[in-house]
């Protein structure tokens, strides 16, 4: 059994560690590239959303390296992500790759199947071993998210532009060659330290922008055309509404116990959207409100074309924009998105934010005189 899984930002680092700790043979798909997207687009239904196309590309590339089993998570609606696994299986089967899928859907009462699937993946029934590997994976997930946070902080402040990403790229190259929890965690620590030691330019005016939207598009840098790098180099510090570590805690540990850490966000979203409607529409709205309250300079929403929950959020966000007086930009990505146009829109938005901030500051000065 050679296990593979689709990419989603830095998630692969954690999943890799978890599977390695279990001793499962793993194939890591190559980083998402245009080639991945081309393969995916060719074999997926035309009108499906972008994440599925990239997933198919990832899996097809893994097949070349001998993968025969796919680990995938799911949901039970109302977003179409819940049916991804079935569709992916069908598509791969048609292409002649009869891969086995090990699915981790929310159990919905059927714990026996769920646990059996864990046994099947882990190839052991030793609960101690499984829990230990899972714990290690989760720890790494938090560590890579902290690494990301460090990069988000440093990018707009670095003296020589691009320095952070030298280390960041190095991390992605090297992490593939290390094995197990100890080495990976050591590597993350080293890279994080080198990033934190980069020389800062104290004269830089740093803007703060919140990124909200569909989880996959805001986490996977290939799909959002590296928005964090682009914004960072324009002198913008970003904060993402959704992180995988956070998602995992929420869905794996808290939700089954009917708990949530999103109470504040839900409360913030309540005047605009009363209930959950699938996907992360409620979080998108809630975080926009929270960012506005924290006096961020702007909010950018990113989602894949035809994403149903985000369309609802998009039609509500202009009201939030007006109510809280916070500039908002909506970016929609699909396989046809042109990088130049995308960058131009980002630049224009950031220019506006900068002007706005300057004007506000000079107004304050005038009032003080």
């Amino acid at each position: 059994m050679k296990v593979t899984f689709p990419h989603m930002g830095n998630q692969y680092v954690a999943t890799k560690v978890m599977l390695e700790e279990l001793g499962v043979d793993t194939v890591i798909a190559p980083q998402c590239s245009h080639n991945t997207l081309d393969i995916g687009t060719k074999h997926s239904p035309e009108s499906i959303c972008l994440p599925l196309k990239v997933n198919i590309g990832n899996l097809m590339e893994s097949v070349k390296y001998g993968a025969d089993t796919v680990v995938f998570s799911g949901s039970c609606g109302p977003c179409r992500f819940g049916y991804y696994s079935i569709l992916e299986k069908e598509i791969l089967k048609e292409l002649g790759h009869d891969m086995e899928f090990i699915l981790f859907d929310p159990p919905q009462g059927d714990y026996k199947t769920f646990i059996n699937r864990i046994y099947k993946l882990a190839q052991t029934r030793n609960p101690y071993k499984i829990l230990r590997a899972l714990g290690k994976g989760v720890q790494v997930l938090y560590q890579v998210d902290a690494l990301d946070a460090a990069a988000h902080y440093k990018r707009p402040r670095q003296k020589t532009i691009g320095e952070v990403d030298i280390y960041y790229d190095k991390f992605h190259q090297e992490v593939r060659n290390v094995c197990g929890y100890k080495e990976t965690s050591q590597l993350i620590k080293e890279i994080k330290e080198s990033i934190m030691n980069i020389e800062e330019d104290p004269s830089r005016e740093v803007l703060k922008v919140g990124i909200v939207g569909e989880i996959y598009t805001i986490i996977e840098p290939f799909v959002n055309l590296n928005v964090e790098r682009k914004l960072g180099e324009m002198g913008v510090e970003i904060e993402k509404s959704l992180k995988i570590s956070h998602w995992l805690t929420e869905h794996l540990f808290l939700n089954p116990l009917k708990l949530t850490s999103e109470g504040k966000t839900r409360k913030a979203a309540k005047p605009y959207l009363r209930t959950m409607i699938g996907g992360h529409a409620r979080e998108t709205i809630g975080y926009t409100v929270r960012y506005a309250r924290r006096k961020f300079d702007g909010v950018i929403q990113i989602y894949p074309l035809t994403c149903m929950p985000e369309i609802v959020a998009q039609s509500i966000l202009p009201t939030v924009e007006k109510d809280y007086n916070i500039p908002y930009l909506c970016l929609i990505v699909d396989e046809m998105t042109g990088e130049a146009g995308y960058t131009t829109r980002l630049e224009a938005f950031i220019d506006l934010l900068r002007r706005r901030k300057e004007r506000q500051e000079s107004e304050e000065l005038l009032l003080r005189c």
Binding site: S47, G77, C79, L87, P309, V312, S315
Partner: protein, 326 residues
């Protein structure tokens, strides 16, 4: 004075309006339906909705605008889920919010939440909440609800018999002369909206074709088929369509499938794909997909339809059921 309640002629309208109309009429309110979809409704809707929304949602916004100044209450319930462990499209779930944030100066909205995802225990509570906009008398509400359900059952029974509620109304249909029968698949709000579907059903019937729609299927049969799926289909509309396709490809009583989808429909992007795979592979059945949005040209659709029907006729006439490989 009668309370005027406006029901927009879009989305869930084709599935449920007799239920709600007779419910409110029984309670003594006056129910006003928006006009059947036309160009001005579509244009107004397109102008007042986010660009990315699908055609039926845009049309729905147009209907809301059509009713806006004529009614005391607008009926836009928050339809989350109508069956256990199933949902309707996320846009339905957020519809009242979408409408109220896209259109200004609306009359008060009846936006009671319908959510039977966990169970139907709260059904009567939901009904009272709907009724409380007109009267606080629980007995009257209960009686009205009972009447409404009768009305609704007879509506559904008529659909099952083969009557088509084009724009929500049954009317005299053409006779089937050609001996061809075709399943028109798609969401009810796509296929029964005459303007939105560019009279797809009428066009086919004018050619003398017998039409089968998912609404004519037996629910028990649909459930039987969808129970065999590997993973539970969690969209109610999707389950109906998939079950219908499975049944039709099994029995092979039809000559082809025309699937009408609206651009950007998330549910169709998956269901259409699965239906097409079933139709082509298991059923060896001609399949035509028509995707509509506000820019679709009618001439192109006509040509494709005619070509499809011609092909089915040839197939029927010439097919010897002998293998071409000899």
């Amino acid at each position: 004075m009668h309370l005027k309640i406006g029901i927009p002629r879009g989305l869930w309208f084709y599935d449920y309006y007799p239920l709600w109309k007779s419910f409110y009429e029984e309670l003594g309110a006056e129910v006003i339906l928006s006009s059947p979809t036309n160009k001005s409704i579509l244009d107004k809707g397109v102008k007042n909705t986010v660009d990315e929304a699908c055609l039926p949602v845009k049309i729905f916004h147009g209907h809301v605008l059509d009713l806006k100044d004529r009614v005391d209450y607008l009926f836009v319930p928050k339809m989350m889920s109508v069956y256990e462990k199933e949902y309707i499209c996320p846009k339905f779930c957020g519809l009242p919010e979408m409408v109220s944030h896209s259109i200004k100066d609306l009359p008060p909205i009846i936006d009671t939440e319908i959510n039977f995802n966990r169970s139907r225990k709260h059904l009567m509570n939901t009904v009272y909440r709907f009724g409380s906009y007109v009267t606080k008398n629980p007995i009257a509400i209960h009686r009205a609800y009972k009447r409404a359900v009768e009305e609704y059952s007879s509506y559904k029974a008529r659909m099952k018999e083969g009557n088509l509620p084009i724009n929500g109304e049954f009317c005299e249909r053409y006779k089937n002369k050609s001996g061809i029968s075709i399943a028109v698949m798609g969401h009810s709000y796509n296929i029964y909206d005459k303007y939105g579907s560019m009279s797809l059903i009428d066009k086919l019937e004018e050619m003398g074709i017998k039409i089968i729609t998912p609404e004519m299927m037996d629910y028990a049969t649909i459930n039987q088929h969808t129970d065999t799926l590997e993973k539970k289909m969690f969209w109610s509309y999707g389950r109906k369509l998939l079950g219908t396709a499975m049944h039709l490809t099994d029995t092979k009583t039809i000559d082809g499938i025309v699937y009408l989808s609206s651009f950007g429909c998330g549910i169709d992007s998956i269901i259409e794909e699965l239906v097409e795979r079933k139709a082509r592979k298991d059923g060896r059945m001609p399949f035509l997909l028509i995707t509509v949005d506000e820019h679709t040209g009618e001439a192109g659709v006509n040509t494709r339809l005619e070509a499809f029907i011609d092909m089915i006729e040839w197939r029927k006439r010439n097919e010897s059921n002998l293998s071409t490989h000899g």
